[in-house]
Amino acid sequence: MYNARSILSGLGVFLVLITFPFWYNVGKSAAAPEPKLDTPAIQQLSRKQCVGSTPYMRANHMQLLEEWRTLAVREGKRVYEAADGKKYEISLEKTCLKCHGNKAQFCDQCHNSLSVKPDCWNCHVAPEGR
């Protein structure tokens, strides 16, 4: 091989960089985030059920929130009828965060793990503590 020193060191740098995820996570458990559901509001529920089915909520809660916001702010509708016929007051703070009052152990668990930073809490009030 010609110019072996420069070529091999360039190749080495590339390999170290491209395998970053493999060595960065060595020795870390990398468990999936576990949003906590043990709030008083949820414990009082007879049927532990969110506004939508759990798979739907996990994948689409941001789109539901957008829908809610449009309904409330643009169309002045404050009541949302869920697929199962249950009625919810449209409110981020008074509905979602009444059941999920533990924002830090619930919403933030997933969001931190994926480095998602919803800017809602610049204006909306998150429940204190707990």
Binding site: M1, Y2, N3, A4, I7, L8, G10, L11, F14, L15, I18, T19, F20, P21, F22, Y24, N25, V26, K28, A30, A32, P33, P55, R58, A59, N60, M62, Q63, L65, E66, R69, C110, N112, S113, L114, S115, K117, P118, C120
Partner: protein
């Protein structure tokens, strides 16, 4: 011809993963086995290609030069366009890699009435290429949020800058739009410019379509057919920590996206995309133009049998002395 063939290939790949992961539910194959195989082929393929290139001898210096060569002290040399030192070479390569400087010089020749040959500025290829490559890099780095725990701050920073626009309540990534526009342009120019179309092969169309499908499936997944992103991270973290697992309930669109990335990784070392490494190994780019100052020995040179003058004189000393021919060494 090339377009049809490449489209057909993409369609076949799409059908394969849609059937395999969507209908038959082979999630382990498409979520673990193929990605690992693809990463392995990618790494070893790149090493193989680079080492193979490294074994090719360079018989003489062939740097392309676009400026005054270094010569007499009172003639101003062009240090970057005609580098005579390693620093100049590094500077030129860096500008080339980061800003596509040689593409910026692109001109278009046209025969006008007269007949008159006219050259004019053609910066669109440079712009499209630059936007595409930088968007790709940004998107690539942004995806590290799926492969790291905790997510490093530089990844969050890139995400924050790239995603400062909003669509609804979500971040709208600027690079998502740029890459789709740029790749579409790069494809479009291959089709509408007759000369470019003439030289375009399936090997040119296929990577474009592959990257377009990859970006398009990602955009669809992020903004339209949402998947459970937390579960996706569970899968990707399983891959990089070598504890593969397949969480329930990830939509088929994710497997389509992952399969296109895997195909890209497999195809990479064997395709024109190896210019990733090739740019650094191009003798026209990585050599200093110093052949007048330093001797460059052709590695092909085989040992030539020579008969030096000293040996010659040694052999014919007696005869030369008799004939009165002057000798370098009088006695021997």
């Amino acid at each position: 011809m090339g377009i049809g063939f490449s489209l057909l290939l993409i369609m076949a790949l799409l059908l394969a993963v849609f059937f395999g992961a969507g209908v038959l539910g082979w999630h382990l194959l498409f979520g673990v086995v193929i990605p690992y195989a693809a990463a392995t082929i990618f790494l070893f393929g790149i090493i193989y290609r680079v080492v193979k290139w490294g074994r090719a001898p360079i018989p003489f210096r062939i740097p392309t030069t676009c400026g005054q060569q270094k010569s007499l002290p009172w003639i101003k040399p062009s240090r970057i366009d005609n580098p005579s030192s390693a620093a100049g070479v590094i500077g030129r390569l860096a500008l080339e890699v980061l800003l596509f400087r040689s593409l910026f010089r692109n001109t278009k020749a046209e025969l006008r009435d007269g007949p008159r040959l006219a050259y004019h500025w053609e910066k669109w290829l440079w712009l499209g290429g630059l936007l595409f490559h930088w968007s790709f890099l940004t998107i690539f780095l942004r995806h590290l949020r799926f492969f790291t725990e905790p997510v490093p701050s530089f990844v969050s920073f890139i995400e924050g800058v790239d995603g400062f626009l909003r669509v609804g309540v979500q971040a709208l990534y600027i690079t998502d739009i740029l890459i789709l526009v740029a790749v579409t342009y790069l494809f479009w120019r291959r089709v509408v410019i007759p000369q470019v179309r003439y030289i375009s092969l399936p090997a040119d169309y296929f990577p474009l379509f592959l990257i377009l499908s990859l970006a398009f499936s990602g955009v669809l997944m992020r903004y339209f057919f949402r998947v459970d992103v937390s579960a996706v991270k569970e899968l990707t973290m399983g891959l990089v920590t070598f504890h593969p697992r397949i969480p329930e309930g990830i939509g088929v669109i994710f497997y389509i996206h992952l399969f296109f990335v895997s195909v890209l990784f497999v195809y990479f070392p064997y395709s024109k995309m190896m210019h990733l490494a090739g740019i650094f190994l191009s003798p026209t780019r990585n050599l200093a133009n110093n052949s007048r100052a330093c001797r460059h020995i052709n590695p092909w040179n085989y040992p030539v049998k020579v008969h030096t003058y000293e040996e010659y004189e040694e052999e014919f000393r007696g005869k030369m002395r008799e004939a009165g021919i002057p000798l370098e060494k009088e006695c021997g």
